[in-house]
Symmetry: D2
Subunit: 154 residues, 4 copies
């Protein structure tokens, strides 16, 4: 038997996955939304030559994309509100080597106006995670339900 602790979240999750599924850039990168919960999410992407820079590391732009998307998705998933990235700052901590990049974002200051989201990016080397970037983002929330938007024909 499964007890669903937050049935209100299911339509929000469905709507967010639908939105993200319509991002052409998400498909070009080949990233996946591997975890989604209230106020948090995880994005991941596997190594491919076209995601690298000239030394064979993941390009910093891939890391930035994951942070940009994951922080906004985490904020949207807090209350099911439509969200826009307002700003973020990221520090690159070590070269993004390995076979996979994972970005975990989590709301650290909830809010209906400008929530704050922290994100950390790890690269996976032989099954071990190494911390490659850290970020802080501010998200501008809109007065618009995400689920309702997704239900409308796009």
């Amino acid at each position: 038997m499964t007890v669903d602790l937050d049935p209100d979240f299911a339509p929000i999750a469905t709507a967010i996955r639908d939105h993200v599924g319509r991002q052409g850039f998400m498909a070009l990168i080949g990233a996946e939304l591997s975890e989604l919960a209230r106020g948090s999410c995880t994005l991941a992407v596997d190594r491919r030559p076209e995601l690298l820079q000239q030394h064979g590391f993941f390009h910093g732009g891939v890391t930035a994309f994951l942070i940009d998307n994951a922080t906004t998705i985490a904020a949207a998933a807090s209350h099911g509100q439509s969200a826009l990235t307002a700003e973020y700052k990221l520090n690159l901590l070590s070269p993004a080597v390995g076979n996979r990049l994972i970005c975990r974002a989590k709301v650290i200051k909830p809010g209906h106006q400008v929530p704050v989201v922290a994100a950390d990016v790890f690269c996976v080397i032989d099954g071990n995670e190494k911390h490659t970037a850290t970020a802080l983002a501010s998200i501008a929330m809109r007065n618009e339900r995400i689920a309702a938007m997704a239900a409308s024909p796009a």
Copy 2:
């Protein structure tokens, strides 16, 4: 007749263009290094469906990629030193609509250790530029000449 005012810069420019030309991610995005000078550069990319988010704007990740790459290239072009992005912060100012994104980066604090670079991103709508993002970046310089690196077989 052309008067070259900075003949020392030519091999640096060649080496930087060679480096950037070997970035798989730059090719995937389809961006071009449209201007390169000592301490400054311009990157640009044309609209394609795979660069957009779900509302038809350029994805914030494309803007971040341009900022990441342009700020580091501008710093490398100051003295011909190899450079690594240390950190940056960007504010998204308006939706990135239009047919083309242009990112102009310029070193505002020169230095051989941690120069500071400002970048602004504009979207082009019917031939007019609109300010869509602004950023400040710190770049970590390495004790390594760029021209020498490019000359070595990669």
Copy 3:
């Protein structure tokens, strides 16, 4: 004869100056609000031993205070709305030497929700200004008129 081009701004300016005048920390620092207009302001402070760090430069914390206050005041002065600093990032560009620090802040993205404000700090040496810091801030606006607040007994 003086022509007042923006008579609506006078009560806003009065209310903001009143607010700032009630900041204990502003008085402790000894800073002055030397210029105030729609969407911009200037703060300045003269050198005193208690504002310095161990090498005789203005402490970075003084620079940060000027940025914090000036960016929020500039945003409040856009529409006369009450404003809270949400976040900012600053880069220190050179040691803050000289006799006076001046911080100029200007709204670069107006808005009633999260305007963006840029600020630059200069130190004055023998009458010449040197760029010592640059910053980008996001301000959270409140649905509250500043003038009305100031009119109430505090």
Copy 4:
């Protein structure tokens, strides 16, 4: 009996405390360096009217000062190297109420060139801590031993 696990750190700690003790601004604020270890430190300050803004909260500039100083001290305490703040970004998470502000800084990316330091600021209300700000800083290290500097007549 006390076992000192890191005897090399003692002269570094003494030198850093000496440096901080010569900051006029630290004395003006009335902050104390309450904890110092390799790569981390804690600063704290008690509430006084002259540290507040117009609503009776600690001024954001006090929070910024604590972050500025604590992140640089933490970096200097990693290897006993002289350090300069290069840049930081801070997000204000909640009003800084209460009787005391505490800033804890910790190096998250060690390094002899540009270490990265995270800092969190808490306000103490009836003995309980509330998270009021979070920050990420990059510090520029100098090729200069701190202990040696402190030993010289200043």
